[in-house]
Amino acid sequence: MKNFAALTRMRIQIAFRNKMFFFFVIVMPFAFFFLWLGLLAKGIPDRCAFYLGPVVAFNVMGSFWGLSATLVLFREQGILRRFHVAPVTASDLLASSIVANYVLTLPIVALELFFARVIFHVPSLGNPITLFLLVSIGIISFGSLGLVVASVTNTMQETQVLNQLLWLPLIFLSGATFPLAYMPSTVQRFGLFLPATYLVNGVQQTILNSATPWSRYVEILSLSVWACLTFFLSAQLFRWEPEAKVPRRAKLLVAATAIPFLLLGVVENMSDRILVEAKTALERFDSASRPPSVGIPIRPPATGKPSGSN
């Protein structure tokens, strides 16, 4: 526990000295935040509320990118070898990556939510407990996915390729960038097999409808199971040495991370619950009133729908 705490502190300290960290963890998420809420939602509070969920989910999902790259870099440079010869375990290192990333990402999400209220006058952030749970589990689960990627790739080049292969479907087919309801039916149905879809939908429904943790239990539970599975696998596949290559059998084991959402995807494809929720949210977005003058965000009219009731 002492080693884990010391490593977490070290990771946070080093992150603050890294220009790449500022760009990817602070500049990028806020650029995306202002672009989507300011331009796509045109600053209309109800429309901003619609996009806030995907924007927050997008930021949360980005965790996997940084964690995978850092771990592979540490392995390639021989930094992990130095820790290996000290009384440090793989779990200490992996858990400290996850927690440091959580500590660094959560304030950015909180700031986004704060700006959404103060600058874009989003009517409500929904149920704070559900939001906190989903964001926390999201950061941990996508961070763990990053650790799995780092464990199954041998070089930084391989890591970047695999990250791209995962990142593109995760952001484009889950509703994180463009609403799921806009997509062709086949894409929507495919999206139901992606963990990102559950994070996006969960956060969006929490903000729009003040969903309780119980009403979002599917998202919370599935992402939690996935977080445990990916973390367990990353610890199993962890390699200290750059020359220790991944056996093909281990790569197959990684396919296990897809099982929870393959099963859930089948169930959700039959129930259509998520697709109906996404469609309803989009209809509400389309019907949101335009501002009196472009570019100036306004508060919702007092006679509008009470927040969290729909």
Partner: protein, 306 residues
């Protein structure tokens, strides 16, 4: 040996088809500086990494401080310190932070400030790792190997790739460890390093120990001869150099002829006469007392750096 703190018996390690270590055996006494001397790829690093618990062995037995590096890995790591080959720290980590972080992993700790002062890193304590020179990084690696006041220190090629000046600085650090009666297992492919720093040396080649003893003992095996290295304008006839006066051994190494002579002045005179008779010329001539390199050449017919 009275009290070996480190024991290796018939150690074998394979990487696929390649047998990197082929039945290596040696033991190290507490307080001894022991060197594994050999060319790159001889199996030195693999041996050391097995002793550190970083790699598994295929057969044989090893024990460090009475512990099995694989079975008692956690306990072992508390007892050893290591400066590994091909290792690094994050560029944006400060020197003092690195020492404090690594010290925090151990039950027994030395004062980081005292270590920094001792190894001449005090003025660099707030520098980032990425800003350090190669020599400073290596000094930091040695300092970090001592944060837990280890019973055994593993120094894997501690001066590889460093310029001679920096190398001598590192020698002073290791000599200090020797004065402190630390047990050190050092791997190197530098003759000077092994001769200057080690109490005993195992010469290792192709995964086997080919000679073991104190540097003096090993050199004495050259028969108290003087080493004469000559380069000629034309190749010498087969075996003719062996017949020169006082010569007990002659080998061709890298286009030069290495002669071991018991009577160097007579050897040189008869060499000059022989060359004149053959119409050959002397390009260069070096005379030296035998080094561990000669021992290596004697056993392998190759130079250490090959």
């Amino acid at each position: 040996m009275a009290n070996p703190i480190l024991q290796v018996e018939n150690l074998v390690k394979r990487y696929g088809e390649v047998e990197a270590v082929r039945g290596v055996s040696f033991s190290v006494e507490e307080g001894e500086v022991f060197g594994l001397l050999g060319p790159n790829g001889a199996g030195k690093t693999t041996t050391v990494e097995i002793l550190e618990g970083l790699r598994t062995l295929d057969s044989g037995q090893v024990s460090v401080c009475g512990l099995d590096p694989q079975r008692d890995s956690d306990a072992l790591k508390q007892e050893i310190g290591a400066a590994l080959q091909a290792t690094a720290l994050p560029d944006k980590m400060r020197v003092i932070e690195a020492i404090r972080l690594f010290a925090s992993f151990y039950k027994r700790q030395r004062d980081p400030q005292e270590l920094l002062k001792r190894f001449g890193l005090d003025d660099k304590k707030n520098s980032f790792y990425g800003q350090l020179s190669g020599g400073q990084k290596q000094r930091l690696a040695l300092t970090m190997a001592l944060v837990n006041d280890p019973r055994v220190c593993f120094l894997d090629e501690p001066t590889a790739g460093l310029d001679p000046q920096v190398r001598r600085e590192i020698y002073e650090v290791i000599e200090e460890l020797r004065r402190d009666k630390k047990t050190v297992l050092l791997t190197t492919h530098y003759i000077e390093e092994a001769e200057r720093l080690c109490d005993r040396v195992a010469i290792i080649d192709h995964g086997k120990v080919i000679a073991l003893g104190t540097p003096r003992e090993l050199k004495a095996r050259s028969g108290g001869t003087t080493r004469i290295e000559v380069r000629l304008s034309k190749p010498a006839s087969d075996g003719v150099l062996k017949t020169l006066e006082g010569v007990v051994d002659s080998r061709e190494v890298d286009g030069a002829y290495v002669l071991h002579s018991q009577r160097p002045p007579q050897t040189i005179v008869s060499l000059v006469k022989q060359l004149e008779a053959q119409g050959n010329e002397l390009v260069s001539l070096e005379i030296a007392t035998p080094s561990l390199e000669d021992v290596f050449i004697e056993y392998t017919g190759r130079r250490l750096r090959d």
